[in-house]
């Protein structure tokens, strides 16, 4: 009997220490909320793959738990309802139309002409006009982990926005420094899938930044596969393999960043993906993928009982207050009151001081008058 009790107690002891380890893991990352800013910068139908890239990252991020209110999605052109799309309201990532990444529940925050360098930098730094709605703002604080994903056409040190402007790596680095100074992030993961993408993270100098790119300077990122029915390339290689990697991640998985760095080796990608972790304070091996892609909630189990207060009673509105309203007569207005329109009084124009032309004309008339009739008439007038 005593042996059983000791065995039981030792089991409890061991399991309690495990719980303490798990509790310790909960607070190792230091972040309390997750945000994502996903940007596609290309316009026109033949850049379908960039929209599909962004939407596949959006889909993974939503699936792993980040809600729409914490995602700022910027798509520079509309591919799903484009008139060239043979299957409207769909954006596919695999050929033979296997996976529709557009889905049924998508909320695009910036679309079409709104995706500009200025709007992107304003979203990052939070310097938006006061009437901007909440869904278009990045309301992060100093305990937020932010994922930033950019895709489009780029070059050595710049990324092209909508074929008319570009953002340079210096501007991007300065924007991140502004974010750091304003305490707008705890840790930031920057992923870019463009040609010569590694040049975009060369100039970063703020702490707690980790960056991934699909190709090195001097290399082009290539696209994956065309679909003959739709007629364009559907995805870029790096994001295709990234999507495949993320499909295996679930909210409780323990995959860390070292696995993410191994996504798309040169044999698959043709270009060499690169990454940068020197500005990051933690060891990448201890950073979970779900720290950035997912929104793992911290749950506290409590065994206390909570007493509910008395139920809420709706107060009855005083019907006497409506008495005075009914004295005014209300009726539906005439939709086309012809007689009223014809006899509409013209709006009173505001009085403006006489224009230069009118003044000049009167001066000319007065001059001519006094020239012909002589100056002696002046004193009669003034």
């Amino acid at each position: 009997m005593l042996i059983l009790m000791t065995l039981f107690s030792s089991c409890l002891f061991v399991s309690s220490s495990n719980i303490e380890d798990n509790v310790g893991n909960f607070f190792s990352s230091g972040h309390t909320n997750n945000w994502a800013v996903l940007v596609c910068t290309s316009r026109f139908w033949f850049n379908y793959r960039h929209v599909a890239n962004t939407l596949s990252v959006y889909r993974s991020v939503k699936r792993l738990g980040i809600p729409d209110s914490h995602i700022v999605l910027m798509l520079a052109d509309d591919m799903a309802c484009n008139h060239r799309n043979p299957k409207p309201a769909t954006v596919f990532s695999h050929k033979n139309m296997e996976l529709n990444v557009y889905g049924d529940d998508v909320e695009v925050d910036y679309r079409g002409y709104e995706v500009t360098v200025e709007n992107f930098l304003r979203v990052l730094t939070g310097r938006l006009p006061p009437s901007t709605p909440r869904s278009k703002r990045l309301l992060s604080d100093d305990r937020s982990n932010i994922l930033i994903y950019l895709t489009g056409h780029g070059g050595n040190g710049f990324l092209k926005f909508q074929d008319s402007e570009e953002i340079s790596n210096v501007e991007l680095a300065d924007a991140f420094q502004q974010m750091w100074q304003k305490r707008r992030y705890n840790e930031l993961l920057f992923i870019i899938d463009t040609c010569q993408g590694a040049s975009m993270y060369e100039r970063f100098y703020s702490p707690n930044l980790m960056a991934l790119a699909s190709s090195q300077v001097g290399e082009d990122s290539l696209s994956h596969q065309p679909d003959l029915a739709i007629g364009v390339h559907l995805m870029d290689r790096y994001t295709f393999y990234l999507l495949e990697f993320l499909e295996d991640i679930h909210p409780a998985s323990k995959t860390n960043m070292n696995d993410l760095f191994k996504v798309c080796p040169k044999s698959h990608c043709v270009s060499t993906p690169g990454h940068r972790t020197d500005l990051f304070l933690r060891d990448p091996g201890s950073v979970l993928v779900t720290d950035f892609f997912g929104s793992v909630r911290k749950v506290e189990i409590t065994v206390e009982t909570i007493n509910l207060t008395s139920p809420i009673m709706q107060t009855e509105e005083k019907s006497a207050a409506y008495g005075d309203l009914q004295k005014e007569t209300y009726s539906f207005s005439d939709q086309l009151p012809v007689s009223e329109i014809i006899h509409q009084k013209p709006k009173q124009k505001d009085w403006h001081p006489p224009d230069g032309f009118i003044l000049g004309l009167w001066t000319l008339i007065l001059l001519v008058f006094f020239k012909t009739y002589g100056m002696k008439h002046l004193k009669h007038i003034f």
Partner: protein, 642 residues
């Protein structure tokens, strides 16, 4: 000692766990009783409505049959039903009246071209008063996001629509709710608003966040203030002052799933139950015409109405299968299994006017309910499916309406009013806008109000405005023209024209295209620039007497525009938007100019500078090694070198 303490702590833990389990088990039994206690209006209203619907289906059926038999004036036939919109009528049953009411409808109208027109109507009626200062904090069926928008910006009426495609009036007839391609927003503000323009700007920004559309592009360059069109659709208590009206269109706006998603979230049942289950984006956007709209207006001093409408026209040929057969599954890839539990009425109306004896098409499952409504100036017969009745779903518990055509004869009643617009001319400097208005009535003429809003970069020459009907000049009885200001406001032209019977009226005006500044061009300027649709509002003579009684309960699709007199009904027709090319510079020019200039400077000026400033010296070639040694020896000797 440690082991001893461990054992005692383990025992304590074990006892705690046991006590927790017993407490939890006791708690499980109490919640069902506990939820019954907080008595709000919720459970009472549910029992009320179910009581009403259960007690009255027999009476309803009798009432529907009464309308069919009595072919006399529709005013007398339809009796009063349960919730009436006016605040004066008393509640039919005892107990507190529900504060808000939700109704849903689907109207299916087969078109003569083989296509099919489906129109969803959702109406939420809410008894409250925003104009009083008390803050509303309890939202039940009325969506909170819209309620807060109305109270914050002192909006009296709000009408917003998103449309993809153009409504073909000549092939499809008149829609129940007209809308122009792109996005359209018009708002009547309350009289208490002091800065209408500032409030309008903030309102458009907030709405762009709610509907995921780029409505923030609405600014003073595309907003107009009509002086006679767009009278309020809700109730008013005084003469309307057009200072509080703002109208704007964005013809370029795309409609896609991201606009449908927040629109569906405004419905009380969302897209989980009721008619909204049918709204799947892959089918809705694969259509010839798709329009979704939100209309908010006051219908009585104390109640507000929110109408959400979705009009869609499915094309016969793009949806596969050559034979002419339509079903709910073919249109929406879903069938119906239940009505929205929060709805007081949920019905499907199928227009069977052209099929009185069933010789043209066959409608299954058959339904005994028939209804006659006067809508769009014509009396139409509808087969009604009431989704609140379990019998509608049959034994398979799902409703899939099937319409199969047997013969395709008969032609459509030609619509009386139609409008067209196009740009004439050649080159990139000048052009001419032609607007055609067709009056197909054989002997009646009626007045028409034309509203044109042209952006500032098309400079209209109003002295070239001509209005001709049947070859003769037709002078409008009212013209309101507000010229544009560059980069500040657009042109506004409103005219009241009398259209003679059976004629075409043509309005032409010449314009000149302006050259924009380099930064004002869009990223794809060679696509062209859009000019919003013209709006033609008119009171068209109707074939049958229209119903002017507003307190009577009518289906939602026939009660959208208020009717003041029996002999005519109000119609709004939108023309096509125009796509105009502006003179576009070559945007690679700065790069080209820099390269060319630098090359010219480097080659041309550089060579010239060198020629002028370089001085030439004659230099002996360096002698060979032997000669150099000889020179050294000669220098040492003092003899001149070689």
């Amino acid at each position: 000692m440690a082991a001893h303490r461990c054992v005692s702590s383990a025992l304590l833990v074990f006892l705690c766990v046991l006590s927790v389990f017993t407490v939890a088990r006791s708690q499980e039994t109490t919640p069902p009783g506990g939820h019954g206690a907080p008595a709000t209006d919720g459970p009472q209203t549910v029992t009320e409505t179910t009581g009403q619907t259960a007690g009255q289906p027999a009476a309803e059926e009798r009432r529907w049959e009464a309308t069919e038999v009595k072919e006399a004036t529709p005013d007398e036939s339809a009796a009063e039903e349960q919730e009436a919109p006016a605040a004066d009528t008393a509640a039919p049953s005892a107990g507190p009246r529900p504060k808000d009411d939700f109704q849903e409808e689907l109207v299916i109208r087969p078109l003569h071209s083989g296509d099919i027109y489906a129109s969803f109507q959702f109406r939420t009626l809410w008894e409250t008063d925003f104009t009083r200062e008390n803050k509303v904090s309890h939202y039940r069926l009325f969506p909170k996001s819209l309620g807060q928008v109305i109270s914050k910006f002192s909006v009296r009426e709000l009408h917003i629509s998103f449309t993809q495609g153009y409504w073909r009036t000549m092939q499809w007839g008149q829609p129940y709710q007209p809308s122009p391609p792109g996005a359209e927003l018009w708002v009547w503000f309350q009289d208490s608003v002091t800065d209408v323009d500032g409030t309008w700007k903030e309102l458009t920004n907030v709405l762009s966040g709610i509907f995921c559309a780029s409505l923030n592009f609405i600014d003073s360059t595309n907003t107009v203030q009509p002086s006679a069109s767009f009278k309020p659709l809700g109730i008013v208590n005084e003469v309307t002052d057009h200072r509080f009206l703002r109208y704007a269109t964005l013809p370029r706006e795309i409609v896609c799933t991201e606009n449908l998603t927040p629109w569906k979230k405004l419905l009380p049942c969302g897209s989980k139950a009721g008619l909204a289950v049918l709204m799947k984006s892959e089918k809705l956007f694969h259509s010839s015409f798709h329009s979704q709209a939100v209309h908010i207006r006051p219908v009585s001093p104390t109640s507000w109405e929110l109408r959400q409408t979705l009009n869609v026209v499915f094309d016969l040929h793009t949806s596969g299968q050559g034979k002419r057969e339509w079903s709910l599954f073919k249109m929406f890839s879903r069938t119906l299994t239940e009505a929205c539990p929060l709805a007081s009425s949920s019905k499907i109306y199928v227009d069977v006017t052209d099929n009185p004896q069933g010789e043209q098409f066959e409608l299954s499952p058959a339904t005994p309910l028939l209804s006659q409504e006067v809508v769009l100036g014509d009396r139409r017969t509808f087969s009604v499916y009431d989704l609140t009745q379990q019998i509608t779903f049959g034994t398979v518990r799902s409703l899939n309406l099937l319409i199969r055509w047997k013969s395709s004869e008969g032609d459509m009643l030609r619509p009386l009013l139609h409008g067209e617009r196009y740009v004439a001319g050649y080159g990139l400097q000048t052009g001419e806008i032609h607007t055609l208005m067709y009056n197909y009535h054989p002997y009646r003429s009626f007045p028409v109000l034309l509203l044109d809003s042209v952006p500032w970069y098309l400079r209209l020459y109003i002295h070239t405005l001509t209005v001709t009907s049947k070859g003769k000049d037709n002078k409008p009885s009212y013209i309101h023209y507000q010229p544009s200001k560059d980069r500040l406001r657009p042109h506004l032209l409103e005219m009241l024209v009398q259209l003679p019977p059976n004629s075409v009226t043509e309005v032409t005006v010449q314009f000149e295209r302006a050259l924009l500044k380099w930064t004002e061009y869009t990223p794809d300027p060679n696509h062209g620039f859009y000019v919003g649709s013209s709006v033609i509002s008119s009171l068209v003579p109707s074939i049958v007497a229209m119903d002017t009684n507003i307190t009577q309960e009518r289906p939602l699709f026939s009660s959208f525009f208020p009717c003041k007199e029996e002999s005519s009904y109000f119609v709004r027709v939108y023309t096509e938007p125009l796509l105009v090319n502006l003179p576009t510079p070559d945007f690679s020019m700065p790069y080209n100019v820099i390269c060319l200039t630098c090359t010219v400077v480097a080659v041309g000026y550089g060579s010239l500078y060198n020629l002028l400033t370089r001085s030439f010296q004659i230099e002996e070639p360096s002698p060979g090694l032997a000669k150099r040694l000889a020179n050294i020896i000669r220098r040492m000797r003092g003899v001149p070198p070689l």
